[in-house]
């Protein structure tokens, strides 16, 4: 076997990881849609997709093909540049944050350690927050560029909502950071070897989870696209592939926040590992996937059971309930940490 230099090995490993992770993420996004349709159908006593393939398993392919062949309608009075930019922004930023998410332990290939992660940043968590905080522009600009009444309302609502809930989202995880003492996602998982953070930070988790639903514009916080009030909200004027990009961005964001919840509060890939070496290498990945899937299911479950908030309720809930609770949680955590260290 030819021996590579370290740089070549790093480059090859990085390219392989990027390709594998992107394909995996796209597959997960496609099947998250299928899962959502199936689960919501069961909740509403329907069958859901069941014609294309066994249990409708090929439905995502059919949907993709259909959306690809749809006519791309661009309304007359849109602001051309921003109208094109918005879906690209939403899509790329949503797929960007997966780059720092670790999926499992390292494995050794040819004497070199390879991590199941594209890039291990020392500020991995902040990177994800930075990317998701930019993601709002995709939606807000789509609403503005459409030059139409309902999309504009959707864009306005989403900007206000995202600013409000980003605060509690960030403050909700501060407790975890204080306990783990690092911003590296790998470090946070390693720090949970003894005890998962959910047991130490139950309040922080609830604040994070509720804010995450609002950040991803899902029911019961989906006011930016509330179809009973705003037609389709910010994506009313979008069709074909551009609409698909918003759609995929939304699901990619759900996958990201589910991964993050798993990493921050549920020990990431940690779980019982046993058996032969191959099983030992695969089991952490399996535990991670299982936890993320559970979160996806809970997301869909919530969507299927809860009615939508009214706009003033949404704002009051964010500012008057979630934010104070997150602040109190930080205060309590720091008191306990200070008391234990003294």
């Amino acid at each position: 076997m030819a021996t590579f230099s370290d740089t070549t090995f790093f480059l090859i490993a990085a390219v392989v990881k990027v390709v594998v992770v992107l394909i995996a993420l796209l597959t997960v996004v496609a099947y998250a849609v299928w899962l959502e349709r199936k689960v919501v159908a069961r909740i509403q006593s329907r069958w859901g997709p069941h014609r294309v393939g066994p249990h409708g398993l090929l439905q995502p392919l059919a949907d993709g093909l259909k959306i690809f062949l749809k006519e791309d309608i661009v309304p007359h009075d849109v602001d051309r540049f921003v109208y094109w930019l918005a879906p690209f922004l939403a899509f790329t930023l949503a797929f960007f944050s997966i780059a720092v998410i670790p999926f499992g332990e390292s494995i050794t290939i040819g004497g070199r350690e390879v991590f199941f992660q594209i890039a291990d940043l020392p500020i991995g968590l902040l990177f994800i927050f930075a990317v998701t905080s930019l993601g709002v522009y995709g939606i807000a600009l789509a609403g503005w560029a459409s030059n139409s009444k309902y999309p504009l309302f959707g864009g306005l609502r989403s900007s206000a909502q995202m600013i409000s809930y980003e605060l509690s989202l960030g403050l909700g995880v501060v407790g975890v950071l204080m306990i783990c003492g690092t911003l590296s996602l790998r470090g946070i998982v390693e720090a949970q070897r003894g005890l998962w953070n959910i047991l130490l930070q139950p309040v922080g988790f609830l604040v994070y989870f509720m804010s995450a639903i609002a950040e991803t514009n899902r029911l019961p916080f989906d006011l930016p696209e509330g179809e009973t009030e705003l037609v389709g909200g910010f994506h009313t004027e979008y069709s074909s592939l551009k609409f698909a990009m918003f759609f995929m961005a939304e699901y990619a964001n759900i996958v990201t926040v589910s991964c993050l919840a798993t990493l921050l509060f549920f020990g990431g890939w940690l779980g019982p590992v046993f058996g032969p070496p191959v099983l030992r290498a695969v089991l952490p990945l399996f535990w991670f996937a299982l936890k993320v899937l559970t979160f996806l299911f809970v997301y869909i479950w919530i969507r299927g059971t809860l009615p939508r908030f009214r706009y003033d309720q949404l704002m009051a809930f964010g500012w008057k309930f979630l934010l104070p609770v997150a602040l109190l949680n930080i205060l309590a955590t720091s008191f306990i940490l200070a008391w234990r260290s003294s």
């Binding site: 921003v82 500020i123 927050f129 900007s159 960030g170």
Partner: protein, 163 residues
């Protein structure tokens, strides 16, 4: 690294010009976001990852969203040239050139070429910055937060008056 610095420094300057020159307010705001992100990359090249992330989260991700929100709320259209004063029309560009030359002269005088040296590498991680903020600069930090609180209260009072 130096190539990357020049690329992003140039991007920041071009986008900053575009902030001023754009006629549509939303485009100005977008250009400002590009400036802030380009500056974040420059921080990154200096090894200040934490500052870079905070720059994007706070400025590009929160403050600029408010800007865009307000522009969208007011539905500001294209800005046209207003009735300019004759004085500004004739003196504006020459004065700008004089000002730029002055700035360049001061910079060249203060830092003649060859005199620049790399600053000693310092720890710009979250822990180091936190320690500095809460040990050495705790008074300015707290005073700033009180200032912001006062501004928030003022905004609430002003808004309530109109209700």
């Amino acid at each position: 690294m130096t190539v990357l610095f020049y690329i992003f420094a140039a991007l920041a300057v071009i986008a900053a010009l575009s902030v001023v020159l754009q006629r549509t307010p939303v485009y100005s705001a977008l250009s400002l976001i590009v400036v802030l992100c380009a500056l974040a990359v420059v921080y990154l090249l200096l090894g200040a990852e934490f500052m870079a992330a905070i720059q994007v989260i706070v400025y590009a991700g929160a403050i600029m969203v408010l800007f865009v929100l307000v522009i969208m709320l007011l539905n500001a259209g294209r800005e046209g040239p207003i009735e300019r004063s004759r004085l500004a029309h004739w003196l504006g560009v020459p004065l700008l050139v004089v000002f730029l030359i002055e700035v360049l002269a001061v910079v060249w005088q203060q830092f003649p070429s060859g005199s620049t040296s790399y600053a000693p590498p310092m720890d710009a991680g979250p822990a180091a910055i936190g320690t500095l903020l809460f040990r050495n600069y705790v008074l300015p930090f707290e005073v700033t937060s009180v200032l912001i609180l006062v501004a928030v209260l003022g905004a609430v009072v002003l808004a309530k008056k109109q209700l």
